[in-house]
């Protein structure tokens, strides 16, 4: 005979439709988004990886001031065991839009092929295909006209360039700006007609395949490319050499997929903790509600395992259905939403979603196991009580408690205090739940203000208006220009820290810009390094050369306020000695006035205020959508937790509420007695959980920043965020209270009469 209790499973779910629907929706959103995000992330990574083959992406490129003749190019190919391709381009300003620039190439057929996103590749002389990202940000569509160098072109297609997935105009730019710089192709004839200086860039592929996946091989790639650059130097006026592993336009997006994985993992673990908590609360809620039935079944001879199986069924079914629906949504729709977060930043080719085992484990297996384990533990623990305790609804082990005397209060106040004391364990749960939801809410609310704050302090702490990097030492007469030395080292990456660049600067003792007066032998680290690596005076930080094993140790003498960059400042003499640099081989100038007496060709790059704040601007644009999604999710979580826990309190007290009705209390009075207490508890929970929330958030944030970002954003949360958390928390509660009030109204009067045992 089949267990007749199975007939209850569907009926129980129907009778508790509100609770199960709330959990279902929560789980579907959670599973859908996590699955969608992981699928998008994994698929984009895979598409990015395959793109190297599919679009035949270069191993590197070099630019000469003049076009190479055929024999020189052959020599280069032979000496370096490469195949070189002409990839000439012309940079043109868009006439109808200020400060917008397009880099025009001929249609590529062999190397760095384009991916057609919309429309048709140009066939006529007046047709042009432009980068999709640039088009989107500048409101261009297929069929629109664009005027370049006096000629109107019709946009025939939107494309993604395999060598410009991130639109860096120059590889030395600190950040890309897809608003202002884009790439385009025309037919060869149309290209040849453009009267503009042509840049003689050559892309190359190694004849031997170099695996660029493994880190160690990067140094192999470096060795090869280092040798190549030396050889190229003698072949003409070499203007630029960029091996692929250093090419931000190709590599940046791929690296970002990796770092976003860290962020989504962090969110995932917070959510899993919340889900485990919600599962535990609902399991306990079920036990409280079903105490009589459980007691009767136990008294009749039902085994604990049979009872656990029975009560585990509904939540497992709900989790399974949520996982199926969530995954369907994830694979069919939400992955596009999540992929759009990347498509809003990068110019990526099309991709097809692929099945992700990681997503399947995280969104299906793990929640099912979690649901099972949490329910099992709670039920098992509860079932240690005697059957008679269930029948009598004595579900706490400390049965005899002395009641607190409350003489000096009005009746209503006394009643509310009693409600609070009786339901204290529930309110502790409510506090924990609110704390967990707050951590999530903090994530959504705090990150944009953190970026704003970072932008502000970066500008406030700027050492100078222009930081000019030269290709070789040059003299200038610019007033106030001060020489500096610079070297980029890398940290020693481990499971806690990702690999990142740390800039070592050598400046004069009486520097006008770094007003920290570095003495001989002193090591002064920026506050960003101090915070990130938890360093203070006399601590030692070891750094290494980026592509070989040579290490350098720095014993910290002082910390200076400089959040914009991870920088170590040395006295110039100390710098030259440490890195064996001749005094005349300085790197560039720090200046507040624009340098006009050095040829542009000798300037590698200039870092300005706009460069320093590009990162925050770009992050805000690309991640804005995600933060909003997190906020909505946090509020839903918040409401769900409050709903479940307040409902539990009301259910526990339903007999008393029913009795109050019999005595003549109106629902409004009952609301005052029961919900006012909960309202106060919610308010104080929101308020009191804030310091713990901040503390927990700071731990998660710091660990995330170490793994995810190069650089450091100090954790300074403005007061508005705290106020927003309190406001949103209370608003969510008031919405939930309306539902709970309806429940109170529905409690029948005969309930108290039936359960008088």
């Amino acid at each position: 005979m089949k267990n007749p209790l199975r007939k209850r499973i569907l009926r129980n779910m129907k009778s508790e439709i509100g609770k199960y629907l709330a959990i279902f929706l929560f789980m579907v959103i959670f599973i859908g988004f996590i699955s969608g995000f992981i699928v998008a992330d994994v698929s984009l990574k895979e598409s990015n990886k395959k793109g190297f083959e599919k679009y035949n992406i270069e191993n590197g490129n070099f630019t000469f001031a003049d076009k190479l003749d055929k024999s020189t190019l052959k020599e280069i190919e032979k000496e370096n065991k490469i195949k070189a391709y002409e990839l000439f381009y012309k940079d043109l300003k868009i006439e109808e839009k200020k400060e917008r620039e397009l880099r025009i190439y001929k249609k590529r057929h062999q190397i760095n092929r384009e991916c057609l996103m919309q429309g048709k590749f140009p066939k006529k002389r007046n047709e042009i295909a432009i980068d999709r990202m640039f088009a989107k940000l500048n409101n261009y569509e297929v069929g629109d006209k664009i005027k370049l160098k006096g000629k109107k072109y019709k946009i025939s297609a939107l494309v993604a360039f395999s060598d410009y997935s991130t639109l860096f105009k120059s590889n030395s730019d600190m950040m890309f700006d897809a608003n202002k710089f884009g790439v385009a192709i025309t037919t060869a004839n149309a290209y040849n007609e453009i009267k503009e200086r042509e840049i003689n860039k050559y892309a190359f592929k190694y004849n031997k395949k170099i695996d660029n996946k493994v880190k160690d091989n990067q140094s192999e790639e470096k060795k090869i490319s280092d040798k190549m650059v030396k050889r190229l130097f003698y072949k003409g006026k070499l203007e630029d050499f960029t091996p692929r592993y250093l090419n931000n336009a190709i590599k940046f997006a791929g690296d970002d997929f990796e770092s976003d994985g860290v962020m989504i993992d962090t969110l995932f673990y917070i959510l899993i903790a919340i889900i485990a908590f919600i599962f535990a609360v609902t399991a306990d809620n079920t036990v409280v509600k079903e105490a009589n039935v459980i007691g009767t079944l136990r008294a009749s001879g039902y085994k604990k395992s049979e009872i656990i199986r029975h009560y585990i069924c509904s939540p497992m079914v709900i989790t399974l259905i949520s996982a199926i629906v969530g995954n369907i949504l994830g694979y069919t729709y939400l992955f596009k939403v999540c992929a759009d977060l990347y498509y809003n930043s990068y110019s990526l080719p099309t991709f097809t979603p692929i099945f992700s085992m990681d997503a399947f484990i995280k969104t299906t297996i793990l929640p099912l196991i979690l649901m099972y384990v949490v329910n099992y533990v709670i039920l098992r623990r509860r079932l240690t009580l005697l059957p008679i305790d269930f029948i009598r609804r004595n579900l706490t082990k400390n049965k005899k408690k002395k009641s607190i005397r409350l003489h000096n209060f009005s009746f209503m106040t006394k009643f509310k205090i009693r409600v609070f004391l009786q339901n204290f364990p529930n309110y502790v749960l409510l506090f924990i739940g609110i704390f967990l939801a707050n951590v999530l809410l903090f994530f959504g609310l705090a990150l944009v203000p953190l970026l704003d704050n970072f932008e502000k302090i970066t500008i406030d702490n700027m050492v100078c208006e222009y930081q000019v990097y030269l290709t070789s030492p040059q003299k200038t007469m610019t007033k106030g220009a001060e020489k500096f030395y610079q070297k980029t080292l890398s940290n020693l990456p481990n499971s806690e820290f990702r690999q990142e660049d740390i800039s070592i600067m050598g400046v004069p003792k009486k520097s006008k810009y770094f007003k920290i007066k570095p003495q001989k032998g002193e090591v002064i680290i920026s506050s960003s390094i101090a915070e990130k690596y938890n360093l203070s005076k006399n601590d030692v930080i070891t750094l290494k050369e980026k592509y070989n094993k040579k290490k350098y140790k720095f014993k910290v003498s002082r910390v200076f306020e400089y959040p914009a960059n991870e920088t170590i400042v040395l006295n110039e003499a100390t710098f030259c000695k440490k890195f064996n640099v001749k005094k005349e081989n300085f790197t560039g100038y720090l200046t507040n006035k624009k340098i006009r007496d050095i040829d542009e060709k000798n300037i590698l790059t200039i870092i300005t205020k706009s460069d320093l704040t590009k990162m925050t601007r770009q992050l805000k644009t690309s991640m804005g959508g995600m933060y909003k999604a997190v906020n909505v999710f946090a509020i839903v979580t918040f409401m769900l937790i409050i709903f479940l826990l307040t409902k539990l309190t009301i259910e526990k007290n339903s007999n008393s509420i029913s009795m109050l009705k019999i005595l003549g209390y109106t629902p409004k009075e009952e609301r005052k007695l029961y919900l006012m207490t909960t309202r106060i508890v919610v308010f104080f929970s929101v308020l009191l959980s804030l310091p713990i929330t901040y503390y927990s958030f700071s731990i998660i944030y710091k660990s995330m920043m170490k793994k995810m970002f190069s650089g450091w954003m100090p954790l300074e949360i403005p007061l508005e965020v705290y106020l927003e958390v309190i406001l949103l928390g209370m608003l969510s509660y008031f919405v939930v209270e309306q539902f709970i009030y309806k429940k109170i109204k529905k409690i029948p009067m005969d309930l108290a009469l039936k359960n008088i045992e």
């Binding site: 209790l5 039935v293 039902y302 604990k304 359960n755």
Partner: protein
Amino acid sequence: MLLEIKSLCKSYGKDENKLQVLKDITFSIQKGEICVLLGPSGSGKSTLLNIIGGIDVADSGYVSIDGDKTKNMSEKELTMYRRKHLGYVFQMYNLIPNLTLKENIEVGEYLSDNPLDINELINVLELSNHENKIPNQLSGGQQQRTAIGRAIIKNPDILLCDEPTGALDYKTSKAILKLLEDVNKKYKTTIIMVTHNDAIKNMADRIIKLKDGEIRKNYLNNEKISAEELEW
């Protein structure tokens, strides 16, 4: 001898709050007997029944059924003891609210290797016209009959009834008592019934009177009358 209770003691609370509810209870019941545990509120009769039923535990002493002491049983064995040998009827019925009358009885049937025929039992219980109703569509008497059906369908050796008529009117109470008597006769089920109603003792084979946790009287009823003849 079916059931033996020896030197049973039970108290609740600690130190100055300690309340001794059963004091050195010793008696035995033969197979097929109807035994009534009689006493005022707080005399310990329900606690005694719960300990016999294995849903509460004694501080000392033991309950033995056919020589097997429940205190020596593991939790699993105790569950199996309840499953195989006992049926429980509560004052407040404790039916499962979202199962129909028949399904509630099936909850008991599922536990037995040798259950009674469910349709025949529903007929005996005079519930044939209500088998698809859920508990809140039934009267108190019908609910209690359903609870008895759930307890006896598994054909238990002992039926434990805790104030089975406590929530019922005179007429319905007599019908329930008649039903219990019929079950006893038809299936030879031993019945232990807790009541504070002095009149009910007259239908019992054995009467045990409790007061303040002690047995005041334990005797065989030589003037047993049928349930139908009971008056109060």
